[in-house]
């Protein structure tokens, strides 16, 4: 057992740090969830791509560096330590790209991935529907066969980034009426500006249009934009969802950086002893999350697959993130904490969504109890 990185990894880290020191904007960009901010973040993605830092874990032909998970984690540590901007392309890079690598065609990869890496095409996810939140398999939006492709109709919601994004991907019911709801779904990519698509931005709690509703009326999608076999969409989506994604959904680098900023805030405020315990717990939790992730990365590198363990991961980081930001607001003190433009404000609002999305924490705890502890299924 060993926590020291190989020399190559350390030189990779040094290279990343040097590049980030030279390129990370001195002033934070405007919020990602505004039109100007979105454009600024898109430009930043292009800059990252120019330095080949946009998609380090991808193979070189697609603009990556073929970095393994450990290198990816190291890059993320440096990225957030440097205070670099949020990633406007993360839906595409973290959700769609792994699926294309596993289930896409060479043609699809060649066509879709490079512009994604350069931020030229920003992707939104289109999973949820009004009646299908936790119960994702109950999707109703339809994909109807037509000449040379499919016609998509229905409604999607909670499509993050869709207010300003270019394209989207999601599951659609192509064979209605099958006994199992998971059967007969197809995984498709579509253009948010195609005829028949209406995008209605939805204001987040802080008023920013962080996601949107999508109304689809016979939107044509060519066959080339189907991923995997028609009807196999659930398997295509889930095979990637469970595994590596559990590790990459929230990188430890984010929380290590946040915990350090929290400790600095506490120091600068005179080390309030009434909040000391929560600051110590934030530092401890960030380290625990980093080590837990390294352990899983090692298992993953050793060929083990990570299944329900990623539910432990999800519950931990999402509740950790809220506690950390609540501590920060308490440190700022009453009236300063109320400022929506304060340094921790948007992070707090963002953190509040953690226990809800990507599988609510209630669902995650059910999974932990049933699949990891072997408690009886069914009743809830």
């Amino acid at each position: 057992m060993d926590l020291t990185h190989d020399p190559e990894v350390e030189s990779f880290r040094a290279e990343a740090r040097a590049w980030l020191d030279a390129h990370v904007p001195a002033e934070p960009l405007p919020s990602l969830e505004t039109r100007d901010g979105f454009a600024a973040h898109r430009a930043w993605e292009a800059e990252l791509a120019a330095g080949r830092w946009a998609v380090v874990s991808w193979p070189e032909p697609y603009g990556g560096r073929g970095a393994d998970i450990v290198r990816w984690l190291v890059f993320e540590e440096e990225y957030y330590a440097a205070g670099a901007p949020g990633r406007v392309s993360q839906n595409g890079i973290n959700l769609l790209a792994p699926t294309l690598f596993d289930h896409g065609t060479e043609e699809q990869r060649a066509r879709v991935l490079p512009p994604m890496a350069r931020g030229e095409v920003v992707w939104a996810q289109a999973w949820s529907e009004p009646e299908s939140g936790s119960d994702l398999a109950s999707l109703r939006s339809r994909a109807v066969r037509t000449d040379g492709g499919w016609l998509l109709s229905g409604q999607k919601t909670w499509s993050s980034r869709a207010a300003f994004a270019d394209r989207a991907f999601g599951l659609f019911r192509s064979e209605p009426g099958l006994p199992r709801p998971h059967a007969g779904l197809t995984y498709l990519m579509f253009d948010l500006r195609a005829p028949g698509v209406t995008v209605r931005p939805i204001g987040r709690l802080d008023g920013k249009p962080a996601f949107a509703e999508l109304f689809l009326d016979e939107v044509f999608v060519p066959d080339e934009d189907v991923i995997g076999a028609p009807g196999e969409g659930w398997r295509v989506a889930m095979s990637t969802a469970g595994n590596e994604r559990g590790l990459t959904l929230r990188s430890p680098g984010r929380f290590l950086a946040s915990a350090r900023r929290l400790a600095a805030l506490w120091e600068s405020g005179g080390r309030d002893p009434g909040v000391a315990d929560r600051v110590a717990d934030a530092l401890t939790g960030a380290r625990a999350y980093q080590l837990f992730t390294y352990a899983n990365a090692s298992r993953f590198a050793a060929g083990e697959s990570i299944g329900a363990e990623s539910s432990l991961n999800k519950v931990f980081w999402s509740e950790y993130d809220i506690a950390l930001h609540e501590t920060a607001l308490d440190l700022l003190g009453g009236r300063e904490a109320e400022r929506a433009d304060g340094p921790w404000a948007e992070g707090w609002v963002f953190a509040l969504a953690g226990p809800i999305y990507a599988g609510t924490n209630e669902i995650q705890r059910d999974i932990i109890a049933e699949r990891l502890l072997g408690l009886p299924k069914g009743r809830r």
Partner: protein
């Protein structure tokens, strides 16, 4: 010892609640956040007619006499219905000026208290960093140590987590209304009433959040059953109710005694219970709760500011320990 509301008090609360239920307060709150104050002003007048703003004004200034218990009932209703505007600050200003009148110059009280009681004037007060709704208020007071100023202008606007709560960094200076130790004394009394009224608002907001979430989880179905039939959901909402039900008696006791320690206990418990209700309401609504779409967001965004305004939990706990 009869630690129960009497019939008159219950009627007052019921009447106010009915008035506000009928008055589409969410629309008024949304308009207020857009800078359209007309519906809020209209609501204000009706609340004044119902006697709300007279509750912090002595009879000698056309008020109902200081009635802190009735005030908590009224402000719990204001919180439950998300009434916009500097309601707490207006009550606190009334207390501040009335106290000054006892100990010194009654002129400001004579000028303002009748209008505040009648609802024809809104007041705000900057005793901490910011003044709420200073651009709408007819009088903006600034307490700086032993000096009381009527501010020249609202000052720079600052965004709040709750867009209905519009903060202003009002500057010292303007017209000097009073100075001397009596200002500090009066300001302290005003802070106590502000804490009481804010605690009541937080409790009311917590109730609204619980009621709306209970209604939602009874309707919302996933996996073929009502979300409200899941034990984890039930237990989380049970804990919210426990928090609110054990905070209310502290609020009423604080209103009866106006004792600083009891006020701190009430503000602490109501503020934390209201915020816990918001956390649960957001989680159990899921993504839809995270948006501006539902009126629920009016209370979700208010809960934490109310927890912290006029006495953070840390400040309240410190006061409790000073005894």
């Amino acid at each position: 010892m009869r630690f129960l509301l009497d019939a008159e008090q219950r009627d007052f609360a019921r009447t106010l609640d009915a008035l506000l239920t009928a008055a589409d307060t969410p629309a008024a709150a949304r308009a207020w956040s857009r800078g359209d104050h007309a519906p809020g002003r209209a609501l204000w007048t009706r609340l004044a007619d119902a006697g709300v703003f007279a509750l912090a004004v002595p009879g000698s200034f056309d008020g109902a006499g200081a009635l802190p218990l009735e005030l908590t009932l009224a402000f719990e209703a204001l919180g439950r219905h998300a009434v916009p505007g500097p309601v707490v600050e207006t009550a606190a200003t009334a207390v501040l000026l009335a106290t000054l009148a006892e100990t010194g110059d009654p002129t400001p009280a004579k000028t303002w208290l009748p209008r505040l009681a009648a609802g024809t004037a809104l007041a705000t007060l900057r005793a901490e960093t910011y003044a709420l709704d200073a651009d709408v208020a007819d009088v903006v007071l600034v307490v700086a140590g032993e000096q009381l100023w009527r501010a020249a202008g609202p000052g720079a606007a600052v965004a709040s987590h709750d867009p209905v709560r519009r903060l202003f960094a009002t500057a010292d200076g303007g017209e000097l209304l009073a100075q001397g130790p009596q200002v500090a004394v009066a300001a302290e009394r005003a802070r106590e009433w502000a804490a009481l009224a804010t605690a009541a608002q937080a409790l009311g907001a917590g109730r609204a959040l619980l009621e709306r979430t209970v209604a939602y989880v009874r309707e919302r179905r996933q996996f073929g059953v009502a979300v409200g039939s899941f034990q984890a959901v039930k237990h989380r909402l049970a804990d919210v109710l426990i928090g609110l039900e054990f905070a209310r008696p502290l609020l009423h006791a604080a209103a009866l005694s106006l004792d600083p320690v009891e006020l701190a206990m009430a503000k602490l418990a109501c503020g934390e219970a209201g915020y816990a209700a918001a956390r649960a309401a957001l989680q159990l609504h899921g993504a839809i709760g995270y948006t501006e779409e539902l009126d629920l967001s009016l209370w979700l965004r208010k809960a934490r500011p109310l927890r912290d305004a006029w006495g953070t939990p840390a400040a309240c706990r410190a006061r409790v320990l000073r005894g």
